[in-house]
């Protein structure tokens, strides 16, 4: 919100300079975003007079004008629609900065030739020099008309218009809980408290309502509208006085007429939004505060028809809604040039209702912003006095009727202060870490308008703090501590080293496991990616999954492709592969992330390896090496489609390798189905694995005992077999293991080959068996015999033949 510095100073004349406010106010209060010198952008813009106008020879809509600038005459090409000889205009000299057509970048004015005619400057429209609020445009090409003012040509425009104020822009976000700061009196009071300078609350003359007839007001539900004050007045509509127009302009509010401007002025001064209805338009002269009916609609002041519903509170007459309560008035019942009598509304509405209504009709006005902050009901009392005072003075107002559904007299202590908060000195010290003398505490809180008394009880010193009526945010002792601390000076609070019991921190078990997994996989040459937790139907379908199976849906997704929560890391990983396949022949990604189900949320490790050669075996190798590095014992089993699983669509030929840890399924490894690869436009083969991180965390480090190393030599036995293709390596391996018993040190598959000299329907498998005894040196002859027996067994069981080398 923009504040006028001169207006703020009206109540606290010793306020520090704008620059000091910018630097120091945020240390104890709200954040100043920037300070802006009002006249700064009007440099080299002066008052000029149009002396001569003729048609531009080469352009119908342009005129060639001679402008008198006090010292000289300039020739100007201008497209203004309201030019006349003798007109006083805002003239931008060469060297000034203007905003073309009121939008975009500021540009520097230079001598130009426009359609063959020289032009030395510009006659400005109000939006070209940031004065749209002061000079609203009626037509697009209307230039500012200053003729009515008796300005002397050549006078700098800022000086002529008295634009010598400084604007203090306060960040609204930093005062969300301080509704009392959305007005000049409130902000000035806050600044005065922070900088410890005197603040003078202006006194407004009260008006007598005792003998007046009542305005007919019916509030259907006092929860929706705790207070409604209606003041019926005869008025004379005219322009607002200059000081009001200038202050509204400074705050970015458009000037309309005296009555409307005064309602806005009072809001900027005292926080309380006001609204004026034209009595002529109030059917039955009755104000009804009620919920909108289904199907009702209303054209608002911004000329848009809004659909209303019962969640929206309206101000209605006997027939129709006249305003969306606290948000925006209706076009029809608004003030016009012909208005003779008004009902001035000064009311209080339920903050949530206002926030929701503003959202429902997509109109967040200055009024709505203030009501949303839970305006105190007492605010209306001051605002009414001030508004009547100004209307009497500047709109010849005479009160003819009055009503107030909840009168609040601010002169009573009960109304002037909020409920007392009891703060013990010990509590303050305990939070601030510093003990302050009682008189300092009282002094600081008094600056904020609190009424404070100190008591000494057996359990220590206690302060009874009664916050002023406008500080609705002060309710508990901690709130008071905050006030004391910020006014005392946060920089004066001494830092304290953290001390206390020393514990070895007990992390969530998955934390160290994830660190370990990441480091190992990085060591294996894999690259880590982070993908969104969301995906959409398209990606789900592409990956062979279904949206209606297990997927959790978001009620309000940002877009359709972020509608569901992932149940697998694979779809996004495949997308990653597709996007990078042009760059590399060998891609190996992994991701650690949450996957989400209705009954649980688990953390998974996903791995993809894209490569033309044996991607499945590469992923399996990675996973097995990882498990070994983590010292986890595991079993593997080939599973096929008949097992119950939602993910079968992903696996090539409907088969996968299951990894079991301690008898629990902890993951699968497989090759991605060709159809799915095609869906993703992936032109290579992809192996993938998904492993439960929770299980890895649980079983990490469970094998730690080393095996003793045999002092005896090993013997390598290489075999090359031809077997039917239906025989799996796993079956052969089982036979080898069974026969080798404890002499087996390891088995390595050297080569698997199909085609060439190998007969159709068969494959060749070459492997090496490494034998070693813990007790003796194995003899070659013994091993050769062993091999012969093995070959016989394999021949019998699988029809295996030794391949001639």
């Amino acid at each position: 919100m923009k504040f006028s510095y001169s207006w703020l100073k009206e109540y606290a004349k010793d306020l520090p300079s704008p620059q000091e406010l910018l630097e120091k106010l945020p240390l104890s209060s709200v954040e100043v975003e920037e300070i802006e010198e009002q006249g700064a952008r009007l440099e080299n813009i002066i008052v000029g007079e149009v002396r001569h106008i003729e048609k531009h020879p080469n352009a119908d809509r342009l005129a060639v004008c001679t402008v008198h600038t006090g010292a000289a005459q300039e020739q100007i090409v201008c497209g203004g629609s309201n030019l006349f000889v003798g007109m006083k205009v805002a003239f931008a000299k060469v060297g000034s900065r203007v905003e073309w057509h009121g939008k975009g970048e500021m540009v520097e004015m230079k001598p130009a030739t426009i359609r063959g005619v020289k032009s030395n400057g510009m006659i400005c429209t109000s939006d070209e020099i940031g004065l749209i609020k002061l000079f609203p445009k009626k037509e697009e090409n209307e230039v500012i008309d200053l003729t009515a003012h008796s300005f002397v040509s050549g006078t700098p425009l800022a000086e002529a218009l008295g634009l010598n104020d400084t604007l203090i822009d306060i960040d609204n976000k930093s005062m969300t809980h301080r509704g009392d700061l959305f007005c000049h009196i409130g902000m000035s009071r806050e600044m005065a408290a922070v900088f410890n300078v005197p603040f003078n609350m202006p006194q407004f003359s009260e008006f007598d309502t005792a003998s007046l007839p009542k305005v007919d007001i019916a509030v259907e539900d006092a929860t929706d509208c705790p207070r409604y004050m209606g003041i019926e007045m005869d008025v004379t509509i005219a322009d607002a006085p200059e000081f009001i127009k200038k202050r509204l302009n400074a705050c970015g509010v458009k000037s309309i007429n005296n009555v409307v401007d005064i309602t806005n002025y009072v809001m900027l001064e005292l926080d309380q939004p006001l609204h004026a209805f034209d009595v002529e338009k109030v059917g039955g002269k009755k104000i009804i505060v009620r919920r909108a009916k289904k199907g009702e609609s209303m054209m608002t002041l911004d000329d848009v028809v809004k659909e209303l519903d019962p969640s929206i509170l309206v101000i209605a007459d006997e027939q129709k809604p006249m305003a969306v309560a606290g948000v925006i008035g209706g076009r029809e019942s608004g003030i016009s040039e012909n208005t003779k009598r008004i009902i001035l509304e000064i009311a209080n509405f339920h903050p949530i209702l206002i926030r929701k209504a503003a959202r429902a009709i997509a109109t967040r006005t200055e009024s709505a912003v203030r009501f949303e902050k839970n305006l105190p009901v007492a605010a209306s009392t001051l605002a009414a006095a001030r508004a009547v005072e100004l209307l009497k003075q500047y709109a010849d107002a005479k009160i003819v009727a009055f009503n107030d559904t909840y009168p609040v007299d601010l002169k009573t202590h009960e109304n002037a202060y909020r409920p007392t908060v009891e703060l013990t000195a010990a509590q303050l010290t305990r939070l601030m870490g510093v003990a302050l003398p009682g008189k300092t505490i009282i002094e600081l809180l008094s600056r904020l308008g609190c009424s404070v008394s100190e008591q000494r009880r057996t359990d220590g010193v206690i302060f009874d703090v009664s916050p002023p009526w406008f500080r609705q945010d002060l309710n508990i002792p901690e709130d008071i501590v905050e006030e004391v601390a910020r006014l005392y000076g946060l920089h004066r609070i001494p830092e304290q080293k953290l001390s206390g019991e020393l514990h070895v921190p007990a992390h969530e078990p998955i934390i160290p496991a994830k660190r370990e997994v990441r480091n190992i996989l990085q060591g294996f040459g894999l690259t880590e990616v982070y993908n969104y937790s969301f995906y959409g139907e398209e990606l789900i379908t592409k990956a062979g999954l279904q949206t209606d199976k297990e997927h959790i849906e978001i009620l309000n997704p940002l877009s359709d492709d972020l509608r569901y929560l992932r149940v697998s890391l694979l779809p996004r990983l495949l997308e990653n592969v597709a996007l990078n396949q042009q760059q590399k022949e060998f891609i190996a990604f992994f991701e650690l992330g949450h996957v989400y189900f209705a009954d649980r949320e688990v953390q998974q490790l996903g791995i993809v390896v894209a490569n033309k050669q044996e991607p499945y075996r590469r992923v399996r190798g990675i996973v097995e090496a990882l498990l070994q590095k983590l010292h986890i014992a595991y079993n593997t089993e080939v599973i096929s489609q008949n097992a119950l699983c939602e993910f079968w669509g992903m696996y090539q030929n409907g088969q996968a390798l299951r990894i079991d840890v301690a008898g629990k399924i902890s993951g699968t490894i497989g090759e991605v189905d060709t159809t799915i690869l095609n869906n993703f436009d992936i032109h290579t083969r992809v192996g993938f694995a998904t492993i439960s991180l929770d299980l890895l965390a649980q079983y990490m480090g469970t094998i730690q005992q080393v095996k003793s190393i045999s002092p005896y030599p090993t013997i390598d036995l290489d075999l090359s077999l031809i077997v039917p293709q239906t025989v799996s390596w796993g079956e052969i391996e089982n036979v080898v293991r069974a026969q080798a018993g404890e002499l087996l040190q390891s088995i390595q598959v050297l080569d698997v080959y199909v085609g060439g000299k190998i007969p159709a329907g068969k494959k060749s498998i070459a492997f090496r068996v490494i034998m070693q005894s813990q007790e003796r040196t194995l003899e070659m002859k013994e091993m050769e015999q062993w091999r012969e027996q093995l070959v016989k067994k394999l021949e019998k069981q699988f029809g295996a033949q030794l391949r001639a080398v």
Binding site: H177, E482, Q496, H507, S533, N580
Partner: protein, 350 residues
């Protein structure tokens, strides 16, 4: 069949005559080859001998085998060396790179922070990302009508959630994607008793349009300390110490009032600008300070939600923007780079 001594003599002669690598290989087969090597012939003949003889001959044979293999290895080395003579290795040639893996920059920064906090005795928890409104908002003193609880800021779950939780949640407590890692405050307090020092790094979600500095998915690190007498001064010292460790240089800090429902008093912690050291530069908008850590003293309502006795403890809580810190650390200009996995070139720099 030759005796061991004969083999030894013969080998000495043969090995002297060797000229090429191929000849070394040939000798290897002839003397120590598995099938027809002279030594193996002797070993195979052992079975006709008595146990004692077997033992003594076997041992001698093994000694000889070692001698021969050693000599052959030496010869091979010499031959290879001779073959290489005249060729000088070009040391300016590039190395042969191993397959190098990469961790995500967010992982690197998170790891660094976790190490710092763990060394100060903070335990690390991550918690669920799909969370109930109770832990995300209600327990943190966000009133029912708080704007942050409006549906437009948070992703709300449509599908019924059937998770087993210690608490039963009311009908006004929908399930949602956590909007901050503060969701773990009350969860941790329910599970453990003070003294508590905990940090929660993790993924959070906001329903907002994405641009260079906004993402619907980003990363935070929540931290909190609870004990009998924790003060604002403790928060200041701790956060300063942490920032000094993160940035590896001394920093100055200052507190400014800030408002968050779950702390009272609440603060914004500014850190002296790392670019200009507080002198004033474009990064800090010439103020010398950078707003870095929202923090404050834990609100009594939060302790109440956790079931702690009224007034028993005080504590402070703070939030670090992991995405932002990572961007600061590596000079990443666009937050979307974190999930733009179409550019491996980005990830390969880490």
């Amino acid at each position: 069949m030759k005796t061991l001594e004969e083999i030894r003599k013969q080998f000495a002669q043969d090995s002297n005559a060797v000229k090429t690598v191929e000849q070394v290989q040939e000798l290897r087969v002839r003397y120590v080859g598995r099938k027809s090597g002279a030594l193996n012939e002797i070993l195979r003949s052992l079975k006709s001998l008595s146990e004692e003889e077997k033992h003594s001959v076997g041992a001698s044979a093994n000694v000889l085998r070692k001698e021969i293999e050693q000599k052959l290895d030496e010869l091979q080395k010499t031959m290879n060396g001779e073959a290489q003579q005249g060729v000088i290795e070009d040391l300016t040639l590039p190395g042969v790179a191993p397959q190098v893996g990469h961790l995500h920059p967010l992982t690197l920064v998170t790891n660094e922070l976790m190490d710092i906090f763990a060394s100060m005795g903070f335990m690390i928890y991550e918690g669920p990302e799909l969370e109930n409104d109770f832990y995300n908002f209600e327990s943190l003193n966000f009133a029912d009508d708080h704007p942050a609880r409006d549906i437009q800021d948070t992703f709300v779950i449509k599908t019924p959630i059937t998770r087993k939780e210690k608490r039963t949640f009311g009908s006004k407590n929908p399930w949602l994607m956590r909007a901050h890692t503060s969701n773990m405050q009350v969860r941790i307090m329910e599970q453990f008793q003070p003294p508590l020092r905990c940090v929660v790094p993790g993924r959070v979600f906001r329903n907002e349009a994405t641009d260079a500095s906004h993402e619907h998915t980003f990363y935070q690190l929540e931290g909190f300390v609870v004990d009998k007498n924790i003060t604002i001064g403790h928060a200041m010292w701790t956060l300063k110490e942490i920032l000094r460790q993160i940035f590896k240089k001394d920093v100055r800090i200052r507190l400014r009032p800030g408002f968050f429902p779950f702390v009272e008093p609440g603060y914004e912690l500014d850190c002296s600008c790392l670019i200009c050291n507080g002198i004033g530069c474009p990064t800090c908008k010439r103020s010398g300070w950078v707003e870095l850590v929202p923090c404050g003293m834990i609100h009594p309502k939060v302790f109440e939600a956790a079931g702690y006795a009224h007034g028993a403890y005080t504590g402070f809580a703070f939030g670090l923007g992991l995405s932002r810190l990572t961007m600061m650390k590596y000079g990443i200009k666009d937050i979307r780079m974190f999930t733009s996995n179409d550019r491996l070139a980005f990830l390969e720099q880490f």
